[in-house]
């Protein structure tokens, strides 16, 4: 199944597509005085699969919210010059918390983005059901969020973000609440889809392995203040499959990323890391 995708693989994995968005010297200081981001420069190209990796609290979610337009930077700017207005508004977002409508059942929650675009229940049903099958939730259409387990809620949220097939997909630790096997499956699914549709993904994760497996670029961030510590290009070709997962290349890249992450964490100032 994966073999037939080879033809559509991108010319280069390091993302030389046209520029979608550039963060230029972006900083974000919250009103309580916390500097969440400081002087972040980052260019996102169309078709990128970019992972944000970094310690907890380093501003990954904040960066994602800035990109989505849900927050505005307190300094610097977001440069969308390279993209059309349609791109900017065609965003799928997986929040770090499930963020479901508590009164609506699973079907309605996933249907919602389509509903907001005027798609009727009947028209939406096949798409919604397909998305639910993808995240292994067939049979739970009628359950309301409080009847779901943590991981199931997160999967509903993922299904909802993807149901509109957006041009830009922003995902904030979407698979953190899932077991490794399901996670691998969903990783493969996502990659497959991405190769088919060539949308742009910005993917926040805590897993070095996941970031290396999925992305063509890994941006490692450091905390206090949140900033870009280092960027790694993952120059392995797509499609990536189980063979890649067990290859020495992958292990080497993971080790490299891991070292960068350790560096990022150690570069964090503050007395609370001294004890370790």
């Amino acid at each position: 199944m994966m073999q037939e995708k080879l033809a559509q693989a991108p010319a280069s994995a390091s993302g030389k597509g046209p520029m979608l968005l550039a963060l230029r010297g972006v900083g974000k200081v919250f009103s309580n005085g916390v500097t969440a981001l400081s002087d972040v420069d980052l260019t996102i190209r169309e078709g990128d699969f970019l992972s944000l990796l970094g310690p907890s609290g380093c501003g990954k979610s904040t960066a994602l919210r800035l990109i989505a337009g849900l927050a505005t930077p307190t300094s610097g700017l977001l440069d969308w010059r390279g993209s059309s207005a349609a791109d900017r508004s065609d965003i799928g977002f997986v929040f770090q918390e499930p963020t479901l409508l508590p009164w609506a059942d699973v079907f309605d929650n996933v249907w919602l983005p389509l509903r907001l675009k005027g798609v009727s229940r009947a028209k939406a049903a096949p798409v919604v059901m397909e998305m639910l099958a993808r995240v292994h939730l067939t049979g739970f259409e009628k359950a309301v969020p409080r009847e779901l387990s943590g991981g199931m809620k997160m999967r509903v949220s993922i299904a909802r973000a993807m149901v509109t097939k957006p041009r830009v997909l922003l995902m904030d630790e979407p698979f953190a609440a899932l077991d490794e096997i399901t996670r691998f499956k969903l990783n493969n699914d996502l990659l497959e889809l991405w190769q088919d549709e060539r949308f742009t993904v910005v993917f926040v994760t805590h897993s070095v392995f996941e970031s290396v497996f999925l992305s063509n670029r890994v941006v490692v961030m450091a905390a206090r203040p949140g900033r870009v510590f280092k960027e790694l290009a993952i120059d392995a070709s797509y499609p990536r499959n189980e063979a890649f997962r067990t290859s020495p290349d992958y292990a080497a890249l993971c080790r490299q990323a891991s070292d960068v992450l350790i560096g990022a964490i150690n570069s964090t100032a503050g007395p609370h890391y001294d004890g370790h």
Binding site: L101, W103, K117
Partner: protein, 283 residues
């Protein structure tokens, strides 16, 4: 297995206590309110006896009940008149309260501009402005409705406004991202989220619209032929017919309780699938 279970039951007296208590509570939930009601009525009777209270001041419950029975025709036809105004004004209060709340939710400055007028309506004594209403409104029902509405709409407005403003931030962001129009945001997010607050306001307004209907009739008078409970109360008071006065009051109280129960039930049915206040504790 049973041996172990038994063992476990004796082993865990706390668990057993809990089960016992739950069973008790299930019975008590219906029996106790009734018992306490009966007790209250008995106390009322005793107080009348102990203090030698003459029946024209506070009649004994049996007398009131007898009157309720004897004058049933008169009182219930009056009750119907009052109920009609009550329900119509509650309906108007819902429409007006929710409508205004939705309007106010559109923008902070709309809220700040028009909320004062809502407050003015709430705090204006009906008795004082009734002469104006009386001059410019011709229809008697309209007058009554207007008065009762003024009494009842504010809690719905206030609570619904609060609810519309209490929507989870992330959900709001999610709607924004999906390009929801103002109307869609209202329809699919803010109104459902405001439900618990609105229903809370409705429960307050239920009683208020009943008292509003009574007060309206007090003020606007029984200028038509069909007089409601307020007219009965005035008349009974004037004629020192205390048993009938209390029979009418009992009828109003009872109606209030029924309205509250019905609204609570509606509220429960709407919220039971998702809101904490209505969820069954599932262990």
């Amino acid at each position: 297995m049973t041996a172990i279970e038994e063992h476990a039951l004796t082993l865990d007296p706390e668990e057993a206590r809990r089960v016992r208590q739950e069973r008790l509570e299930r019975i008590g939930r219906w029996l106790l309110p009734l018992a306490i009601m009966v007790l209250a009525i008995w106390l009322w009777d005793r107080i009348c006896i102990w203090n030698d209270i003459p029946k024209y001041i506070l009649p004994r419950p049996a007398v009131v009940l007898q009157t309720l029975f004897d004058d049933a025709g008169l009182l219930f036809s009056s009750l119907l008149v009052t109920l009609r105004i009550t329900f119509l004004s509650l309906l108007l209060a819902v429409i007006g309260g929710v409508g205004l709340a939705v309007l106010f939710a559109q923008s902070k400055w709309v809220e700040m501009s028009f909320f004062p007028f809502a407050i003015v309506l709430q705090v204006t004594p009906i008795v004082a402005i009734f002469p104006l209403i009386n001059i410019y409104v011709d229809n008697q029902t309209t007058k009554l409705l207007l008065c009762a509405w003024i009494v009842a709409f504010f809690p719905i407005l206030s609570n619904t406004t609060l609810g519309l403003n209490s929507v989870d931030r992330n959900l709001r962001d999610m709607f924004r991202l999906n390009g929801a129009t103002r109307w869609q945001q209202l329809r699919y997010l803010r109104l459902p989220a405001a439900m618990p607050y609105f229903l809370g306001g409705l429960k307050i307004a239920g009683g208020l619209s009943l008292i509003g209907a009574v007060v309206a009739e007090f003020v606007a008078g029984a200028q038509g032929q069909s007089s409601g409970l307020a007219s009965r109360i005035i008349e009974a008071g004037y004629r020192l017919n205390a048993p009938r006065l209390f029979a009418a009051l009992i009828l109003i109280s009872f109606t209030g309780i029924v309205i509250f129960l019905v609204l609570s039930l509606i509220s429960h049915l709407i919220l039971r699938r998702w809101h904490e206040s209505a969820l069954k504790q599932e262990r």
